[in-house]
Amino acid sequence: MKRIYYISALILMAVSFASCLDQDPKDQLTEEEMYDNATNIYVNAVATLYNYIGGSAESEGLQGTGRGVYDYNTLTTDEVIIPVRGGDWYDGGFWTNLYLHQWTENDASLYNTWTYLYKVVMLANKSLAMIDKYDYRLTEQQKLVNNAEVRAVRAMFYFYIMDMFGRVPVVTSYDTPHTEVRQSGRSEVFRFIFEELQSVLPYLPTGKSNKEGNNYGRVTAPVAYFLLAKLALNAEAYSDDNWIDGIRPDGRNIFFEVDGNRKNAWETCIYYCNKLAESGYTLESSYAANFAVNNENSSENIFTIPMDKNLYSNQFDYFFRSIHYNHGGAYGWASENGPCATLSTVKTFGYGTAQEDTRFALNFWVGKVVVDGKDVVLDNGTTLEYMPLEVKLDLTGSPYEKTAGARMAKYEVDRTAYSDGRLPNNDIVLYRYADVLLMKSEAKTRNGEDGTSELNEVRSRAGMSGRAATLENILEERLLELVWEGWRRQDLIRFGKFHQSYDLRQRISGEENGYTTVFPIPKRTLDLNKNLTQNPGYHS
């Protein structure tokens, strides 16, 4: 009998064990808890997405970090180069390959960039689903504005995806089965983004996103205007479903419905540029003010990545990675001595000539560097001197191996920054009004109008004499004004120059058809989704 007692005791234990296996996490929130009221729905469904505008890891963030959106749009152009400097910056040829357009579908960074961009899209889709699911906790108006803001963020990310990869899947629902993820033509994706932005515009907050306060860092209506203007300006490239056939649609024949009117691409661009002027944006009297340590009150910046070394983890690596070791050392930081201006950029700025553009000194360190009233010296006691004209693709063995090239000086140096200068307080400028003026000037010019006043508004702020608004001058002005701000690849493509030889770069074989104007779909992405096909020109 005793045995039976014990056995039943064991069975009893069994029952109690089984219930012990449930999980109730204390340090994590369930979905129900995450969206438990209107405030938390905004915080955890909408605001949560703004964590991904900037970044602190490689390939994450629209700007500020390396091997991501910014590098693919900047280091691939005639604007900047990272020469091999002896044992430094070879890195398997990664940087050289970007400059020479020899990237491949196997590049891990390209895949990481793709997954970063689409991660935000899918998180936005999830947010939309959550806003729907818990809409009984929201007023009708709250639901509309939350939904609109999420869709605006999503459209912004689709803009970068479409710009880089061309033919991409448009996924708008969180529970889309993987079998239904298929590519759309570039023009279709382009139209989708454009119309999304247009349709959410009425519900977006109208305030300025760059200013601290309720709208800080958000995609507000002016940000959407800016994106719409950009989309329209690049409509020729974005409407081109076959970008290797040498035929590109004409912007004058690409039409949009804008506030009930039918407008061509250039008119549309001008329309949204005007919207930004109406919103109160003006040029700062000083160029440098936009990049100051405390640049939150700039009247020119439209969309920025909020930076605060004590709060946010967004990084700004470009200064750190550009300046010479001893230059960083003079601030008490480490630095990486990498990127510098290309020869063609330096020449465009008129470096060393009597006509040197005033913005050259604002954007670049050249010659001797003075920190705290003292010349920065090299290890051997001689003065550090940046040599803008000594740039070569491989500087190994050159006497200027470590000193060749003009270095980034765009942002005011924040001496209180953490992490070797990578956590400064200067907000990173993504969109600003000077670009709007140049977009308008270009759209007017392309539409057969005169864009001189906009062009020269930008030039005169810089103290430079006026020029005629020819396309050539406008492209040059975009370099002078917006150098190293992440737009160069897009600009060169729009002007048909990206796939030509320039600076130290020879056109690579087969590139004449323009296939390199769109990046390959990463091989890994293709492997995981057999519905997707590679972009033309890249074999897979």
Partner: protein
């Protein structure tokens, strides 16, 4: 009486024969099982003679299939390196289960136990043997039995040793005159600090190690105790790297009610302090390539100089000022009550509690890190375990039956909190005053809580006929809180059989063979070692800090793709083997073949983004196999009253294969990348540019070298030679990326490992020599690749001979892939039993040892004894992180009163 001498020998090799002789109430169930298993017991006789700082060193080389990497003094690396029959899971759970006197423990705890407290290790490898531990024992079990009171009256013993450690080898770099001369010859600008410093010498010292251990025991057969106290102090050869360990242990055994009730009570406590190196690789890398003309210390102006172009290193002396300290406190206690309801039926109740606290503190001064960097963290866990079992054992005539049922419940509560701070203005506080730091950025401060639980039921039955044929079967069910809602329980059966052929009548007539046993088994076990609590739930965690409603706000998001369908990873093992003894077991041979297959293998599969938000999904899809042959040989060629020679040897042949990482999940074909990089080179110019060398490739063993092929060296047109890489796919372009011009050039894990022990006794003298070896694997000599790269000179110093080799290049290729074969003489011990005739001293022994005597290898790097077993990013890659090779000389004293 000859056979008496043999007992330790057999113990060492088989266990199976003699386990029966040391029957303990608590071990009855397992005793019968191990008859059909290949349990290896390492008893104290085989390790007590040597200098061992911890129990892991003792294990090294002692048993076939058990690998411990004792590389330098890197304690953490060693803790993570214990493997029984290799790697069976990608996600984790490859650490063997450590059971100390029945209490679930950890390798960290094992490393703290004083070797002199250990009676024996028992290694369980086959599923039938590990069945009693279920999922926890999926990767093998190391059972540790500690010494208990003998019941033979009061005894006291002291064991101690003292030793010192000297650097015996390091990588020779250019000294200052050669550095300057080379730079001049090449016309390169260089810095001359005017000194000639050997930085390996400046960061090292003569290390010291001492151990003291005192134990006393007493009582009677019915009631006895043993208490012990141990202290270890180890200053390694690297300045600022030292360890201290204090352990105390008490065991009490009491029987009552005419011996029907037995109670075992034990407590174990240990406190360990470690001053680890903050960044091992950076320290040794910096020591190697720092400009040798600089002073080891600040110059006249107080500056620590380093070539400003050498951005990847710091002055080595400064790196020693970084702190990385750990305090580990372990307390555990257990109570076991065994009650004989009737003589054949016993009820056993076992409960244990362990508390583990880990305090970590790191400090990086402003000299090395702008604004400094401070980290404090505390991680604590409490483990409760309860087990009730009922054992029935009956013999009638030729039959012998053993049956048991048991239930077990385990609950863990793990909590942690941590703070990162920076923005300090002076370095005086170290990590002791966080308030002096200006900034605690987002993400640097946090706390966590997890409470996984595990429940199990087991029933097992063993039947023996004629004491010759044995058959056993076990069924167990394991339930875990961590797996998906519908897959909580896994069922894991096992069967085994053994035949003691020698006991057959037809064997009795011959004298040649003294032992012959055959055994086989098959079983399944579950593993969840790679996953953590809440991984199946779609929960929200902080994902960042943004401005919302005008103020900084922490937002929440799911940080992973959740998989609610996760289930148990299952491993099936088949084994067959024999034990064969000749001439009264003067020669014993054992062999065992095993094949194990891991299915439903947990892995973070790549999933398409979109529609997934994250590119990885943890799922059960793939499979992997391990098979091997373990051979043991023990010879006693000499056995006389005054002289005895024993030679033990074990050889393991092992083959691992990643069978598949493909399959369907919810109608979706999922796979891993065909080639997945696992290990990269670090250092100047190597940051993330086609510099992966070690890969995980389906169809291959885990961890293979997948490299470009170097055809030789060619003139690079700038006066140097460079690596001439082959265009393997013949497309006219050398593509060094993952899918490009690379081929599988070898595996990182040894195909064969050898452990061998030779002991010789002459009168009161004894000599023991341990020799270990590993064969059939490759090592990527990334250290040589970096230190020969003239392109980084003179920012970074180069090896002696590099200017002559004249290579400027840093591409990885098979040029620096070398055979890793080695034979290492682990230690040599000479001991002397002083024949004292005293009423108080029962035994007195003095000994001296040399550890790490010599290595025979064709490998050109510093040492081939790098991580060749543990599948992680350092596997098989010698990349500037090796401790200089050192040798330990020690004296030991052992007294028993």
């Amino acid at each position: 009486m000859r056979n008496l001498h043999l007992i330790p020998l057999i113990l060492f090799l088989m266990g199976s024969v003699t386990v029966g002789a040391q029957v303990q109430h608590t071990r009855e169930l397992q005793d019968t099982l191990s008859v059909s298993g290949s349990t290896e017991v390492i008893d104290q006789k085989s390790f007590s003679k040597r200098l061992a700082n911890n129990a892991l060193e003792v294990l090294n080389g002692q048993a076939a299939g058990v690998n411990v990497t004792v590389n330098g003094a890197d304690r953490m690396a060693m803790l993570n390196s214990v493997r029984v029959r290799g790697t069976t899971s990608i996600m984790g759970g490859n650490d063997p289960l450590v059971i100390i006197d029945g209490v679930t423990s950890s390798i960290a705890a094992l490393s703290m136990i004083y070797p002199a407290d250990i009676e024996s290790f028992t290694i369980l490898k086959n599923a039938a043997e590990t069945a009693q531990y279920g999922s926890r024992g999926a990767s093998g079990v190391i059972e540790v039995k500690t010494k208990k009171g003998t019941g033979g009256g009061f005894q006291i013993s002291y064991d101690g040793n003292y030793g010192f450690e000297r650097m015996s080898d390091y990588i020779e770099m250019l000294d200052a005159p050669a550095y300057v001369a080379t730079a001049k010859r090449l016309g390169l600008e260089y810095n001359d600090g005017g000194y000639n410093t050997n930085f390996f010498k400046s960061i090292t010292r003569t290390g010291g190690v001492q151990n003291h251990h005192l134990a006393f025991s007493g009582g009677s057969e019915a009631s006895n105790y043993r208490a012990s106290f141990g202290f270890m102090d180890h200053n390694t050869i690297v300045r600022s790297n030292d360890y201290q360990n204090l352990v105390a242990k008490l065991d009490v055994t009491q029987t009552a009610f005419d011996g029907r009730l037995t109670g075992n009570f034990g407590v174990f406590g240990s406190s360990q302090k470690a001053h680890d190196l903050f960044d091992v690789q950076k320290l040794f890398y910096s020591a190697a390539v720092q400009n040798p003309t600089f002073l080891d210390g600040p110059d006249a102006e107080g500056r620590w100089r380093v070539n400003s172009g050498a951005s990847q290193i710091n002055p080595p002396g400064l790196l020693l000022k970084e702190k990385n300290d750990a305090k580990n406190l372990i307390f555990n206690t257990h109570l076991r009550l065994t009650y004989a309801i009737i003589p054949d039926l016993k009820l056993s109740v076992f409960g244990s509690y362990s508390y583990n606290s880990n305090e970590l503190a790191q400090f990086c001064p402003t000299w090395v890190w702008a604004q400094g960097n401070i980290y404090r963290g505390e991680f604590k866990s409490e483990d409760w375990l309860g087990n009730v079992s009922l054992n029935y054992r009956h013999m009638w005539g030729i039959h012998h039956l053993d049956a048991s049922v048991s239930g077990e419940s385990q609950k863990q509560t793990a909590t942690g909190f941590w703070v990162h701070a920076k923005g300090i203005t002076n370095n005086e506080f170290g990590y002791d005053n966080l308030g002096a730091a200006a900034s605690r950025p987002y993400g640097g401060t946090g706390s966590s809580y997890a409470d996984p639980s595990l429940g199990s039921f087991m029933t097992s039955i063993t039947y023996r006929l004629y004491d010759r044929y044995s058959f056993s079967a076990t069924v167990r069910a394991d339930g875990s809180s961590m797996v998906g809602e519908d897959n909580k329980w896994g069922f894991f059966p096992s069967v085994s059989a053994a035949w003691d052929v020698h006991k057959e009548r037809f064997m009795q007539s011959q004298r040649f063979i003294s032992m012959l046993k055959l055994r086989t088994g098959y079983g399944r076990s579950g593993n969840l070692g790679g996953i953590s609590s809440y991984i199946t739930l779609d929960t929200g965690q902080p994902n960042g800090l943004v401005s919302a409603y005008g103020s900084p706000t922490v937002t929440m998001a799911a940080l992973k793709n959740a998989n609610p369908d996760l289930k148990w990873e299952t491993r099936s093992t088949f084994n067959v083997g024999f034990d064969l003894g000749f001439w009264q077991n003067r020669l014993v041979l054992t062999a065992e073949y095993y094949y194990s297959k891991t299915t439903d293998m947990l892995y973070e599969y790549d999933v398409p983004v979109p529609p997934f938000a994250y590119d990885k999904l943890l799922a059960n899809i793939g499979s992997m196999s391990n098979q091997g042959l373990e051979i043991g040989m023990s010879v006693t060629p000499l056995m006389k009253k005054d002289m005895e020679l024993n030679i033990n040897m074990n050889l393991s042949f092992q083959k691992n294969r990643l069978i598949s990482l493909n399959g369907m999940y919810n109608g979706m074909q999922m796979s891993a990348a065909p080639v997945t990089p696992m290990g990269y080179l670090y250092g100047a110019g190597q940051k993330g540019g086609d510099n992966a060398v070690l890969y995980q490739i389906v169809g291959q063993p885990l961890g293979v070298f997948y490299l470009p092929h170097c055809k030789g060296l060619v003139d690079d047109g700038h006066g140097h030679l460079s690596y001439d890489l082959a265009d393997l796919d013949g497309n006219g372009k050398v593509d060094l990326s993952d899918g490009g011009d690379r081929y599988i050039a070898g595996q990182a894990t040894p195909k064969v490992t050898l452990g061998s022990n030779i002991s010789f006794r002459y009168k009161n003298f004894d000599v023991a020599l341990q020799v270990n070896g590993a064969f059939g694997h490759k090592i990527f000599n990334g250290t040589a690749l970096s230190y020969n790269n003239m392109a980084s000179f003179p920012d970074y110093n180069v090896m002696k001979g590099a200017p002559e080799r004249n290579i400027a290049g840093q591409n990885v290729s098979d040029y620096w892939l070398e055979s890793g074969n080695y034979v290492n003489f682990e230690y040599l011990t000479l001991g002397y039993h002083i024949p004292i005739k005293s009423p108080f001293i029962r035994s007195l022994r003095v000994s001296c040892s040399i550890n790490n005597l010599a290595t025979i290898t064709g490998y050109s790097g510093l040492t081939p004894m790098i991580n060749s077993y543990v599948v992680n990013s350092t596997l098989g890659i010698d990349d500037k992180r090796n401790y200089p090779v050192y040798r330990t000389y020690s004296l030991g004293l052992s007294i028993q009163f």
